[in-house]
């Protein structure tokens, strides 16, 4: 019981932002032994690690779940793609995307299943990205493939801000890298007078510059207070 009291005291002190050294000093002044304090700290760390492991397992399970659902949808679409009409194809993509986002929002905000909700947001963003390429292919859009990644990245960043989801920011990073790597190859790779790149790419790239800059700035404003002092 005594031990529980010291554990609770340490936990409340930590939430108040007190340092480990200060807590040690206070407890020593109250007459606690170093062994007892150390034991209590270890108990807290063990509890936190257990919670972290459980959360991580849940996150992995639901993320794999989201990816598998995405894989299933893509397999179904790929298998029946030739037989489907254009309207049907677009409807499938749009409905799948909106359902994922809506489901994610309800799960996270209404029923407080944060991990599962986040996983559905991620699935929605993946469907959105795949949709860009599928629609471009459907209508034989004359464009440059890295543009698809830029559009995907911009959409994901906007959604990340809208849904306040860091999983979507994490997705935007590899997508952005694909766009950055892809474009210079196209610019320097155009040989023999044939330029596969359209002027629209330049404007889209400019928009990407502005959006990533603003995104970086806005995310930076959310830094934890103790880290803001460093900037």
């Amino acid at each position: 019981m005594e031990n529980q009291g010291i554990v609770e005291y340490i936990q409340s002190s930590l939430t108040q932002g007190k340092s480990k050294e200060d807590i040690y000093k206070e407890l020593l002044n109250q007459g606690w032994s170093i062994d007892a304090i150390q034991k209590a700290f270890n108990q807290i760390v063990a509890k936190e690690e257990k919670e972290d492991t459980q959360k991580r397992i849940i996150r992995i399970i639901v993320t794999i779940g989201a990816i598998l659902v995405g894989v299933g949808i893509f397999s179904f679409i790929a298998a029946n793609w030739q037989e489907m009409g254009k309207v049907m194809k677009i409807l499938i993509i749009v409905i799948a995307m909106i359902s994922s986002y809506t489901g994610g929002w309800f799960l996270r905000e209404k029923w407080h299943y944060e991990k599962t909700g986040e996983a559905l947001f991620l699935l929605g963003a993946i469907i959105y990205g795949a949709g860009i390429f599928l629609i471009a292919q459907m209508f034989h859009t004359r464009g440059n493939w890295p543009d698809g990644f830029i559009l995907w990245m911009i959409g994901t960043i906007v959604m990340a801000f809208g849904a306040d989801s860091f999983s979507l920011f994490y997705l935007a990073i590899p997508v952005g890298i694909a766009a950055i790597i892809g474009h210079p190859f196209g610019i320097f790779g155009s040989v023999g007078g044939y330029n596969p790149f359209l002027l629209t790419s330049s404007f889209l790239l400019f928009i990407a510059t502005v959006i990533t800059f603003i995104a970086g700035w806005l995310v930076k404003k959310r830094l934890p207070p103790e880290q803001k002092e460093l900037y």
Binding site: I60, T63, I67, G70, V71, F74, S75, A78, A79, L122, I126, A130, I157, F166, S167, F169, Y170, L171, I173, P174, V175, G176, A179, I180, H183, P184, I187, S190, N195, F197, L199, S201, S202, L205, F206, A208, T209, V210, T212, F213, A215, G216, W217, V219, K220, R222, L223, P224, E226, Q227, E229, L230, Y231
Partner: protein, 370 residues
């Protein structure tokens, strides 16, 4: 069959994206948890998930700006060279990095600036057939300026991470180039880059080197007057700057004896000339002393990362030298057994030395805090 296999493409893409996102999340969360609580917090690539994401986006904006300018440049018939665009983007990147104190953008912008000068100087040397030793020395001067700027920045807590970027971008190229020059390939390169006209034939290169030199002297004087740099460190930097200047001014050197059938690519078996032996001896001693100096600096500054970096480089140096010196004239079985024994001995000594230095810095840190 191929059509059926095409179904796997989306699976593959989703798999790759999923794995990348997973690793990014793991990396960010793993780092973010430590945050400012760690003693060496400034060595972390990011302090929190917000820090990581904002740093990535600022870096992306600089890259996208570069690609945008390249793209518009191409659309408009290339009025600017790609080097000019590199300079422009690096300067803007540097401004963003300083204003927002973002280290990824800073590192990339500094590399962009050094890259711009390197490529521009290469063009200048080619135009007038100037010896490229000047280009070599110029890049080493830039690395020295970075190192000194790192030492200037490190006192202020807000610039601690900025200073790390400068220090690493200064230390690694200088150590790497000295290391390279201590090998036969390096000496061969030194022989080649000392051939050609003097750099004084190009006012652009002369002016650049002069500006770098003045900057180094200025920063050294300022840092010494403010006690931001140790005296032995000042002397070592001064010595290295003199050495880099000598390399730029060096007349054509003949490092290897001319042998029948000797041609480029087979210099491993070629014998060093008298002057070649002298340079080889000099650079081998210099790189060893430089690495010992890094470890000693880590001890003086109580910076574990410097001690670890120096120890790591010494390990690489010993191993490479063993290959360089004994591979050709030792029996292969004896060579590999020797390498294994050498690794054990070096590993044991390094672990002992590193442990001693780290515990000594820790002891001093505790006694100072009391």
């Amino acid at each position: 069959m191929i059509f059926h296999l095409l179904y796997l493409v989306p699976l593959l893409i989703i798999g790759i994206i999923g794995l990348t996102v997973y690793f990014i999340i793991r990396l960010i969360r793993g780092r973010g948890k430590k945050g400012l609580k760690e003693k060496d917090w400034y060595l972390q690539l990011f302090l929190s998930k917000e820090d990581a994401v904002s740093q990535f986006f600022f870096l992306f904006s600089v890259f996208f700006l570069g690609v945008t300018l390249l793209s518009f440049n191409k659309d408009l018939g290339e009025p600017l060279s790609w080097r000019t665009i590199l300079l422009l983007v690096s300067v803007i990147g540097l401004a963003i990095a300083y204003y927002f104190k973002v280290i990824y953008t800073l590192a990339v912008s500094l590399m962009g600036l050094a890259g711009w000068w390197g490529t521009q100087a290469a063009k200048w040397t080619q135009e007038k057939d100037i010896k490229s030793a000047a280009l070599f020395s110029g890049l080493l001067f830039i690395a020295t300026v970075f190192y000194l700027l790192g030492r200037l920045h490190e006192k202020e807590i807000k610039f601690k991470r900025v200073s790390m970027v400068y220090l690493i971008l200064g230390l690694i190229p200088i150590t790497g180039l000295l290391f390279f020059l201590s090998t036969k390939s390096g000496l061969r390169t030194l022989e080649e880059i000392t051939r050609g006209a003097s750099f004084f034939s190009s006012w652009e290169i002369t002016f650049s080197l002069f500006v770098f030199l003045i900057s180094i002297v200025g920063i050294l004087v300022y840092a010494s007057s403010k006690n931001l740099i140790f005296k032995p460190e000042t002397l070592v930097i001064g010595f290295l700057v003199v050495l880099f200047s000598i390399i730029a001014l060096l007349p054509g050197q003949t490092m290897f004896l001319q042998q029948k059938g000797y041609y480029y690519g087979f210099y491993r078996s070629a014998e060093l000339s008298g002057i070649g032996i002298l340079w080889a001896f000099f650079f081998n001693i210099l790189i060893f002393l430089e690495l010992v100096g890094i470890i000693f600096l880590g001890y003086l500054k109580r910076e574990n990362w410097l001690i670890n970096l120096g120890v790591f480089f010494i390990f690489i140096l010993i191993f490479v030298k063993y290959f360089d010196w004994f591979f050709t004239f030792l029996d292969k079985s004896v060579f590999f057994i020797g390498a294994g024994i050498l690794l054990f001995i070096v590993g044991w000594f390094m672990e002992k030395g590193r442990r001693y230095l780290l515990s000594a810095t820790k002891r001093e840190g505790i006694s100072q805090s009391q």
